[in-house]
Amino acid sequence: MSVNVLIAEDEQNIAESLRFILEQAGCDVRHALDGEEALKEARISTPDVLILDVMLPSLNGFDVLKTVRSDSDLTDIAVLILTAKGQSHDRKTADALGADAFVTKPFSNSEIVTEVLRLGAKS
């Protein structure tokens, strides 16, 4: 049973590398370019894991996370916050909002794959 992953990331290249490594690991991967699109896609495909960039256009990652956690249809999705800022208060915000994992850019591919598979196995 493959893990359904939704990537919310506005940087095309990063999204592409994520798609590649996750598909290699046997995941089913979808991609959204901004926050609103991510929410729309999540409602359609109900992914197991959502990889969420913080600095997203239209609706930032934290707002998306808030909506996910308050929506009974989406609340079961495991969320991995991906950020280039990596400051401690971002990590605290993520924890407070109910993120399941927190990875800073640049990441190692194996780290991301391990995290996603772990979260996918839980759900």
């Binding site: 370019l33 800022k85 850019k105 194996s110």
Partner: protein
């Protein structure tokens, strides 16, 4: 029945004994038992006059227990207001007060007007009271002499009695004029009389209980039989009478005389506080039994005021009756003697002296003041007794003893508000005291004194019935329609209420003058202030000889010399006379005050020593000091304001620093973010390539291209970051006079490749007006490239084109770069010039967002600007402005402008 001769003999004999006692006591002043607290207490019992001796029984027979109020009031005062009395004594001693009038006037700025007013009130109140004593003596003469027991006048007897009393008072009351030398003879005689009246009353009481009646049980039965039920008597009138008698024991001139003026040891008061109430208790013990026995054994219609005499006479105990007569005689004479001393002192000090001083206004006090004082006192004594006699002969005949006494009580009670104010209310002043006294006195006269005096006059009866001039509301016994109280309580209510009201109103209406202020402090804080207080306010000077001259005329040469010599010795001065400084003049004034009262002493001293208030020099000195203090405090205030200002500047600078620090953090965080993004792709793809051998060539080429692009982006980003630092610091670009068109054309040419690859058409429309501006060619080109390439890169139109125009207006060179794309949202328009900001639209463009910030910073360095035109309808329009400069000499100004721009503005 005793014959009249026996009675006269007994009275004369008793008088001789009193003379002897007084004479001997005066000789042996200040020794032994004379200055004991017992004598002091007994002298206070002058409170019990013939009114209490005879009248209390009468009152009990008529009104039951009501007579007790007259004893309860003073008892409460001595037990409960001990501290008030002590304060009175202390103030008296430290200010050498001679009478209650002197006390009040002293407190209210040593005003002779107040002193005179209080004196007049006291005399008015005393006249009927003295008449009452004369009446009691003459009536008792008639009763015991056997002529009649009906109340009536015996002019000759009364006149003889009055003359005898005047003689005694003059001999023992006006030997000296210094209040400090107390009237030991008089006090001793009064103490003897106090014992006689107590023994007499108890004797009569014992006769009533054990001789006429069959012991206590029978007495109780008789009381129950004859007395009205007590509940009829209790109520407003009871409270009123208790208040009134309590007031009287403080304010009656004779009580003030014996309790306050004649006291020479404050500790004696401690004994009096319990012994005097005990005396009153013993005096009242047999009143009811005598009244009950009298009422049940004597024929109906007998005058109850004379039961004390008629009851033992009817029982055949002539000896006890004679003793009772002597007791009544003692009560009356002691009251008259002390009253006359007190009143004559007040009249001479507060009426005669001020009038004399006024008559000799402008001249120095001359003549024998001492002689004048003594003479005026003697005349006053005779006058008072004569007025009393006249009142007895021609006054109302119907009133009982007790009611006349109560009229007098209420009269002197008018002094109480001013007295208590003097002791406890610092703000109380002369105007208030004067107003209160006058209004209270007027109402008392109108509602109580006149109705008694004129009871038989037809015209007054008319006034009493319908009010003066037919004004009902002003009826003397029902002011403003108040009819529920009996005449005494009615007068009590209105006079005291109005008195207090005007006293408070008057006091609040004006501030105290310096002398009132000083006296107020001395009185209200009597236990705190020293006796030498208040010198600071007075600045007077006179030669010692002049002062001595004045003093000896007031006090006699011997006493005056004594004062001067003692003072000099006490202050270690070698000369016979002391240095007449302020301290000595104040001392002398106080000593003189004990002879003539505070107001007169002050007036006399001021005559010879001048200066009522602070001298001009002192005033200037005080003003100088005040000015210095004020200046100093102003300087301090100024300093503190400056410090505050500096602190607030520092605070805002600190806030600014914190803000800049936060901006720096934000900048670094953004830099970090911008750097991490390309690095993420590079790392991720290089890991993919390194770990996967099976990726086909196309894909691996594609991934390597991404790695390359991101590396380039990273480099450019670092360049931009370094660049904005350089631009903001303003170094590294020397300015010269250049043609902006050259820079623009170079920029457009540089962008043509980009435009071609993005299929963007460039439309150019330039002005041909030649212009120059002061700028750096390369940097200006950079600005143009940045704006134009942005317009190309972010143009999302189907047929993308950009338009570049130039124009010259108002000394400014305008370059407009507009595109036909979807434009910039209002929200983005406010942000795009910030560092690291890119439009919110997702895009493939990889700028760091520093371009516009750099461009604007550069343009501003040249005195121009880069703005987003708010007017563009479609697409975005950026306008670059540059000031047109044709002269090189402006360069220096330019450089100033360049280098003085605050750094913080752009970071």
């Amino acid at each position: 029945m005793s014959s009249l001769n026996v009675v006269i003999l007994a009275a004369l004999g008793y008088a001789v004994v009193l003379f002897l006692v007084a004479f001997i006591s005066d000789r042996s002043t200040r020794s032994g038992w004379l200055s004991s607290p017992l004598v002091y207490t007994l002298s206070i019992s002058v409170y019990c006059t013939s009114w209490t001796f005879y009248g209390a029984v009468g009152s009990a027979a008529r009104n039951g227990l009501e007579f007790a109020t007259i004893y309860i009031g003073p008892t409460l005062v001595f037990l409960g207001f001990y501290s008030v009395l002590r304060k009175l004594l202390r103030i008296r001693r430290e200010n050498n007060i001679t009478s209650i009038a002197d006390f009040i006037s002293s407190r209210y700025g040593k005003s002779d007007l107040i002193a005179a007013t209080v004196t007049i009130i006291a005399v008015f109140g005393a006249a009927p009271y003295i008449a009452l004593q004369l009446k009691a003596i003459t009536t008792s003469f008639q009763v015991i002499g056997g002529s009649s027991d009906t109340v009536g006048s015996a002019p000759i007897t009364a006149l003889w009695v009055a003359a005898g009393l005047a003689l005694f008072t003059i001999i023992f009351g006006t030997r000296s004029i210094d209040a400090n030398e107390r009237h030991y003879g008089v006090v001793a005689a009064i103490a003897v009389e106090a014992i006689v009246k107590l023994v007499a009353l108890i004797g009569v009481g014992l006769v009533a209980v054990y001789h006429v009646a069959d012991g206590p049980q029978d007495i109780f039965n008789r009381i129950a039989e004859t007395m009205p039920p007590p509940e009829e008597g209790f109520g407003v009138r009871w409270i009123g009478l208790i208040l009134l008698s309590g007031t009287a024991v403080l304010c009656l001139p004779r009580q003030f005389q014996v309790t306050v003026v004649e006291n020479d040891n404050e500790r004696h008061l401690f004994t009096a506080a319990w012994l005097f109430p005990l005396y009153l208790f013993l005096m009242s013990l047999f009143i009811l039994p005598i009244a009950a026995v009298g009422a049940t054994t004597l024929p109906p219609g007998s005058n109850p005021d004379m039961f004390v005499l008629t009851m033992p006479l009817a029982a055949g105990r002539d000896d006890i009756a004679l003793l009772a007569f002597l007791g009544g005689f003692s009560s009356a004479t002691s009251m008259v003697i002390v009253s006359c001393i007190a009143l004559s002192t007040m009249i001479s000090n507060h009426i005669v002296m001020p009038l004399t001083l006024r008559r000799t206004a402008g001249l120095s006090v001359d003549g024998d003041v001492r002689g004048l004082l003594l003479k005026s006192r003697r005349i006053a004594i005779c006058g008072i007794l004569f007025v009393g006699f006249l009142y007895l002969e021609f006054g109302p005949q119907s009133a009982g003893l007790a009611s006349i006494g109560l009229v007098a009580f209420l009269g002197v009670a008018q002094v109480l508000p001013a007295l208590l104010g003097a002791l406890f209310w610092p703000r109380a002043n002369r105007r208030g005291a004067m107003l209160g006294l006058s209004v209270g006195f007027a109402i008392w006269t109108y509602t109580l004194l006149l109705p008694g005096l004129l009871a038989d006059a037809k015209w007054w009866q008319q006034v009493a019935q319908v009010g003066p001039f037919g004004i009902e509301a002003l009826r003397p016994d029902a002011l403003f329609g108040l009819t529920s109280l009996d005449p005494l309580m009615h007068a009590f209510f209105w006079s005291i209420s109005a008195n207090v009201f005007f006293f408070v109103l008057g006091s609040l209406s004006r501030d105290l003058n310096p002398l009132e202020q000083l006296q107020s402090t001395l009185f209200v804080d009597a236990f705190r202030s020293g006796s030498e207080g208040g010198q600071r306010l007075v600045g007077r000077a006179a030669s010692a000889d002049t002062l001595f001259d004045l003093a000896q005329r007031v006090m006699g040469a011997n006493q005056a010399y004594g004062i001067f010599r003692n003072y000099a010795q006490a202050h270690n001065q070698k000369a016979e006379f002391p240095v007449p400084d302020d301290a000595f003049i104040n001392h002398l004034e106080r000593r003189m005050a004990s002879s003539v009262g505070a107001a007169s002493a002050r007036a006399m001293i001021s005559r010879v020593a001048g200066g009522e208030r602070i001298s001009l020099d002192e005033l200037v000195e005080i003003a100088d000091e005040t000015a210095r203090l004020m200046e100093y405090s102003t300087r301090i205030e100024q300093k503190s304001r400056e410090i505050e200002e500096t602190a607030s500047k520092l605070k805002s600078a600190n806030e600014r620093l914190v803000q800049i620090d936060a901006q720096k953090d934000e900048f670094l965080s953004q830099v970090s973010h911008e750097l991490r993004t390309p690095m993420t792709s590079i790392r991720s793809f290089s890991e993919i390539l390194a770990q996967n051998n099976r990726i086909d060539d196309d894909k691996s080429r594609y991934f390597m291209d991404i790695i390359h692009d991101e590396s380039v982006r990273l480099t450019r980003l670092l360049d931009e970051i370094l660049d904005i630092g350089a631009v903001e610091r303003g170094d590294d670009f020397p300015v010269t006079l250049i043609d902006p068109m050259v820079a623009l054309k170079r920029a457009v040419d540089a962008c043509r490749g980009l435009a071609a690859s993005a299929n963007v058409t460039i439309i150019e429309e330039y002005t041909d007006q030649p212009t120059t501006t002061l700028a750096n060619q390369d940097r200006l080109t950079q600005v143009f490239i940045n704006i134009i390439s942005n317009a190309i890169k972010y143009n999302d139109a189907v047929n993308p084109k950009i338009e570049i125009d130039t124009s010259v207006a108002a000394g400014t060179f305008h370059t407009s770069v507009s595109d036909n794309g979807s434009g910039i949202s209002e929200h983005d328009a406010t942000l795009i010039f910030d560092k690291f900001s890119r439009g919110s639209k997702p895009t493939n463009e990889k700028g760091a967002g520093l371009g516009l910030a750099i461009s604007r910073t550069i343009a501003r360095k040249f005195g121009g600007d880069v703005v987003l035109s708010p007017k563009s309808k479609t697409g975005a329009q950026f306008i670059i402005t540059l000031p047109i400069t044709s002269e090189l000499h402006n360069q220096s100004n330019m450089e100033d402008a360049l280098y003085t721009k605050p750094l913080t503005e752009s970071i």
